[in-house]
Structures are given as C-alpha cells and as structure tokens.
C-alpha cells in the first residue's frame, strides 16, 4: 500500500491551476495527470466520477480559499469599522485573483457546455458572496434592497474587470476597481475617481 504521492490539498491546488488556466473543456485528463503527477487511474481513484467530480472538488477547494481570503475578513472583525472590513476584502480579492492575472472559476464554469452542469454550486457561491457584502453594508444602516443592489454591482464589476484583464491584457482596470471598491460600496455618490 504505497503512500499517496501528494497530500490531497496539494493535489487540489494543482487541479485548480489547470481548470483556471485552461477552462473546463481544456482541462483534459492528460493535463490534470501531468500537473498532479498522478496517472489517470489514480485520478479516478480519488474522483470516481472523473472530470465532473474533479471540477466540483476544485470548486469546493477554491471556495475554501475564497472564504479565508475574502469572506472571513469581511465578517471576522464585526467590531471593526465597516470600511476597514471592505478594505480587507479588497486585499483578499487582490490575492485570490493574483492582482487580476488569474480568472474566476465561477465565470469559467458558468459558460459554454459546462454552464448547465455546474449552475447550482456556481449560483450558490455567487449568492453567498453578494450576501456577505450586502450584510456588511446593511450593518452601516444602508437599506437591505439597496445594499443588495450595490453588492451585485460590485461583484459584477469585479467579474468584468477580470474579463477585461484577460481580453485586453491589462490588469489596470481590475486594480483600480479594487482601490475604489470600499468607497464606492459605502457611498457611491461621493466616491472620487482619483
């Protein structure tokens, strides 16, 4: 009974990398095997349902990173000023998306043929993110429906800036957006354009 070559979290890290780089359909077993150092059959040992299982596990694994880097800072210090927590979220987002150089798995898995297959976990993750932002805004006295709208717009803006980064080759809009995000969420009308 040989020991596992890599700890499971390390395997998942590498699988995440492949899905992020190549998308669902481009994440072939050959690439997943090469990235993890595991043979195809070993991958099927970990993930009996093959690629579908891997993509779901990747979604959960990346979700944990997202909770730690983005959502926890938003909630942990509930005693801290809301603006500080939003700044912490922006910092976490910069790290999670590697300053705009890495795409969002939710966007990748919601398009093309993979879309319908992963609609539920993707939709849930997005709703949770939006909900957490809205909670933070609501805590400052912003009305619930307005808080939700602003949160949706913020998440949409982030997704779009990530698209722009890949399509135009510049991460500047993404980094600029993160800079202004806390102010824009708290008080859009007085937000400065720098």
């Amino acid at each position: 009974m040989p020991a596992a070559l890599l700890p499971k979290h390390e395997v998942l890290d590498r699988l995440v990398g492949v899905f992020r780089t190549h998308g669902y359909e481009g994440a072939t077993l050959a690439r997943l095997s090469k990235a993890t150092g595991l043979g195809r059959a070993s991958l099927y040992h970990y993930f009996p349902n093959g690629k579908d299982d891997m993509a779901r596990a990747v979604l959960v694994h990346a979700g944990h990173d997202f909770e730690r880097l983005v959502l926890a800072p938003l909630q942990d210090g509930a005693a801290q000023p809301s603006r500080d927590r939003l700044v912490a979220m922006a910092d976490g987002l910069a790290e999670f998306y590697a300053a705009g150089t890495q795409p969002c798995l939710l966007a990748l898995l919601s398009s093309g043929d993979a879309g319908p297959v992963f609609a539920e976990p993707v939709g849930d993750a997005l709703a949770r993110w939006i909900g957490c932002i809205a909670d933070t805004l609501a805590a400052t006295g912003v009305e619930r429906s307005l808080a939700l709208r602003r949160a949706e717009d913020a998440v949409g803006g982030i997704q779009g800036a990530l698209i722009l980064a890949r399509a135009s080759g510049s991460t500047a809009p993404f980094r600029r957006l993160l800079d202004g995000l806390p102010d824009r969420l708290l008080n859009p009308k007085h937000h400065s354009e720098g």
Copy 2:
C-alpha cells in the same frame, strides 16, 4: 453547380449562435454542421482552415452587428447631445446582448485554450469599443485620460453583468446597469441609484 443552400450571412448568423451558446471548444463540427444544414466538407469549402477560420469569421460578423447596433448610434449623430447618443448605445447593447440573455463572444473567446489564439482580434475589438465611448465623453469636455478610465469601467461593468446573468440566472443587474449607464458615464458623482 448546385446553388448555396443558405446565403453566407445566414450561415454566419447560425455559426454565431453555436459559438455563443457552446463556446469555442463546445462548438463542434457536428453542431456547426447541424445548425447550418451544411455537411462538414461544405463548411471546409467556406472556411478552409476549419474551426479557426469559422471563429474568426464569426468574430467579424458579430462585429458588424455590434458596429451597427452599438457604435454607429454613438458616432452617427455627432450633432446630437452626448447623453442621447449614450442612451442610443445602451439601447443597442440591450438588443445585441438580448437583454442579457446572450453572452459576449469576446469574453468567450478570451478564456481557456482559445484565449491566446484569438487575443489579437478580441483585444482590438475591445479597444475600439472603449475608444468610441471615450471619444463621446471627451466631446463633452471630459479630460481624455478620465474619459478612457470611465469607458473601461463601463465596458468592464457590462462584461461583468453578463457573467452574472449566466452565473446567477438573473438579467436584472444587466438591465439595471444599462439604465444608469449614460448618467454614470457623464457624471458618476451625481448618478442616482434609483
């Protein structure tokens, strides 16, 4: 010498539909053949380099629709007030993206393995769109660099709202964004959140 079954623009319309629905990798020759009613060999008669050629032709064809629906209204009535032209653009965008139910080909072709292959035409199209918006803002006296920034943010917001529509199943953020787009572009600080 049998006549062509479909006029070329009709063939292209259907190819656009397949690429938009399934993405680049999901746009298999079987689907492209079925959607156009042409056999594989006939597709290769029109597009000697196969899928790559088809995707490029689809990009050009959709680009013509985009010019007509979105960019022309922005430029044609140079005599009209800028705000009217931005409203016309928003109307054109609503039609081009079918009120948020249809994804953007630029986003689809910039991700995954297709990304590097189509980086140039995709980047050019995006730059043209951003430039046109910036021109319209500059005509109102907005400083050039600020106009470009606002245009980038607007295009990013649109892309993100389209992602959100597919990932969350709701086109509300997209339609809401189009509603407020002209005001936000012209004077973000006084823009009302409705």
